[in-house]
Symmetry: D3
Subunit: 165 residues, 6 copies
Amino acid sequence: VNPDPIPDPPDSAHFDRQGRARMVDVGGKPATERVATAVAIVELRPEIRARLLAGDLPKGEGLAVARIAGIQAAKETSRLIPLCHPLALSSVAVDFAPEGEDRIRVEATARCIGPTGVEMEAMTAAAIAALTLYDMTKSLQRGVRIRSLELIEKRGGRSGDWSAR
Amino acid sequence: VNPDPIPDPPDSAHFDRQGRARMVDVGGKPATERVATAVAIVELRPEIRARLLAGDLPKGEGLAVARIAGIQAAKETSRLIPLCHPLALSSVAVDFAPEGEDRIRVEATARCIGPTGVEMEAMTAAAIAALTLYDMTKSLQRGVRIRSLELIEKRGGRSGDWSAR
Amino acid sequence: VNPDPIPDPPDSAHFDRQGRARMVDVGGKPATERVATAVAIVELRPEIRARLLAGDLPKGEGLAVARIAGIQAAKETSRLIPLCHPLALSSVAVDFAPEGEDRIRVEATARCIGPTGVEMEAMTAAAIAALTLYDMTKSLQRGVRIRSLELIEKRGGRSGDWSAR
Amino acid sequence: VNPDPIPDPPDSAHFDRQGRARMVDVGGKPATERVATAVAIVELRPEIRARLLAGDLPKGEGLAVARIAGIQAAKETSRLIPLCHPLALSSVAVDFAPEGEDRIRVEATARCIGPTGVEMEAMTAAAIAALTLYDMTKSLQRGVRIRSLELIEKRGGRSGDWSAR
Amino acid sequence: VNPDPIPDPPDSAHFDRQGRARMVDVGGKPATERVATAVAIVELRPEIRARLLAGDLPKGEGLAVARIAGIQAAKETSRLIPLCHPLALSSVAVDFAPEGEDRIRVEATARCIGPTGVEMEAMTAAAIAALTLYDMTKSLQRGVRIRSLELIEKRGGRSGDWSAR
Amino acid sequence: VNPDPIPDPPDSAHFDRQGRARMVDVGGKPATERVATAVAIVELRPEIRARLLAGDLPKGEGLAVARIAGIQAAKETSRLIPLCHPLALSSVAVDFAPEGEDRIRVEATARCIGPTGVEMEAMTAAAIAALTLYDMTKSLQRGVRIRSLELIEKRGGRSGDWSAR
């Protein structure tokens, strides 16, 4: 038994019947409130992390730079991910917290009122904020790693709410 | 003993002595050839992966879309990562391979001849190509995960060659 | 008799009474469904066309690259055509078909629900997809030509439906 | 006899041996001066053309808007045409002239000193300038047509000079 | 007595309670008509100004270039000002008038129907139009100065109408 | 006597002999080091300024957001100011200092090694950083004003060094 069969590509799929990439038509879908949260985990040496979080790296601006980068990236999502729709985001938030001894958790939440979800916006914000942390620490430590990037929650839309928490 | 002490932020760091974010001056550095390769691992159910790779998803265009997205993102790096320099990339390549039963390996290589490295360009290309795969499969499987994103090789520049392979 | 007199620039024209360029006010117009289709014809040697269409050029990715380029360009229209309004496109599709012995027909359709039409979005998508085909074949044939670019259909909006088919 | 056999894709082609799209490596090519000129022909009713050219449409700004659009588009080429390299353009010029009774000729010339040509930059500038003329006249005449878009001259680079004039 | 106490940051502020930058949530706000007008004053030598305004500089295109630059910049506001929301602008107008002996007044008006105001769009349009005038005259006069940039009127939204005129 | 006659537009002017806007050809100019510094003065109530500078507004991130906005804007200059050339900036720095009782001084310095100056990059960075301060304080005070924006120093290039200090 396969408890979770693969559906045929529904009308929200990115390809038409001949297999050609297209931007799906969301014109008939109602505008509802959508929220999505994604998390990226950045792994870096405890001392580097300490400097970044405590602001001994420079005045805490490290996190501010990454936060702004994530927010800006959310607004660029439809230009980065080819088949995404342009969206009028109603808010984006990006936050950081230490996890374990050597990880920083980057959490990004995007919201809009629209016909399509903001999953990719949250994922993109988390990815770019994490890459910015990488960029700011790469002269101090080689091999900083983004250890995972995933959606953890999604609300609104036809497919209903979902949470990995 | 700490075999790998944290250096003081060198002139290539992103902050000045007062801790303010700035774009580092690379004006005095010679233009040399730079290469960097980054890898992202995307984890998705074997059946979905099979469809994506074999082109049973639509005609293999799935990988083409992600490849183009990664290439384009590499060119956008300095607009996405706030303290990166604009670069005249001389090439970008993005490729995909299956790994294990349920993973796709996204490998991105960027090159330029310039005063600063292309590490962030390779990382950004891999990240956005992986996010595009996510976007194209998310209607078929919830919880697709980008399992890691890291640099695996870097050549050129003052700090010398480096490889995690 | 002039069966088709030039109207005075209506309120939808791009210039104010003093002749200065401006972005027309569409604030009072209702949001309705808009569709537009544009076609570009690319002329290239039969053998080159054969390779492009049959995928003997490389695996059909040539068309995929051009399709993505067209879709992405549609989303950029208001940044490329100075007096266009930003639009929340609900879909974009770009397709290719052989015509005669030496032509490829590029057809782009854009849709939105909004106060203004998507004519320029369809035209821009067709133009950039055609230019991408040009770019991908220019090392094989000099003098590839885009032979025409025109609107063929338009639905929705105050001025009613129109078709050149 | 085939007087003009199709060459195998040279190293300047956009696909690697496996047929995957990539941005070609231009890192080993010397920087030389490159110039390219492209022409687009816009066909519109004589009265509309007269108003546009004579400035009876509004003060000649119509042409200025299209000229600026073309220049700006040339600078965006590597973001619009997926496999183009970012280039430091040294100049762009866009000009307009009447042709016959009902055509406007849009001529765009791009220059750079670099390892790769500016053919796509000239083509893109001509295309977007022509689309802007279309946009500015579309409320006055339906069915304005861009009748052709082609390269007419190219200088510099390994493949030598070429002219269609 | 302090007749105008500083309010606590309301829900429209850009920072959350912990002081982190975020894009404010406008999802619950109704879409209403918004208008804002900003003015920049550019100060330049009377002879230079005369050439610019009279079109003895080249054919008046100087003002057209600056006008287009301002209009385009208004559409880019959310990408330039990090915490601004993307907006579907319904119109933008930029105009110029002489003031006193050596000043040009740049006036920019932006409109939209949306949940948030267009103050930053008007300010950005005025700023970039003024910078473009600066750019076009800087080879003729050193030390051209933008003497002020401010909002002069704002209508719509919860906080009511406001005018500095 | 006119001690400072207006020169005829030199080859570095933005218009050709017929008065049409164009992007000047810098192809024949050598690449030399260029530096430019611009200053914007923002005027706001002492209490608001105190909160912004002391970080009682939120944790000093206000200045970090404006700094990043200015740095990012410098990299966008050639897309915002229509006749500017794309440049490979080698560094950008943006800083803030109180002046008098109610002003903040925004100072932006741009550098590159190239054939053309970075004056517009410094001006654009200062303008957008100042607008970001405006954006972050506008919910606390109406009528924040950017009181001036001007170049204060410029080094490198044919026209020699210049300083307004």
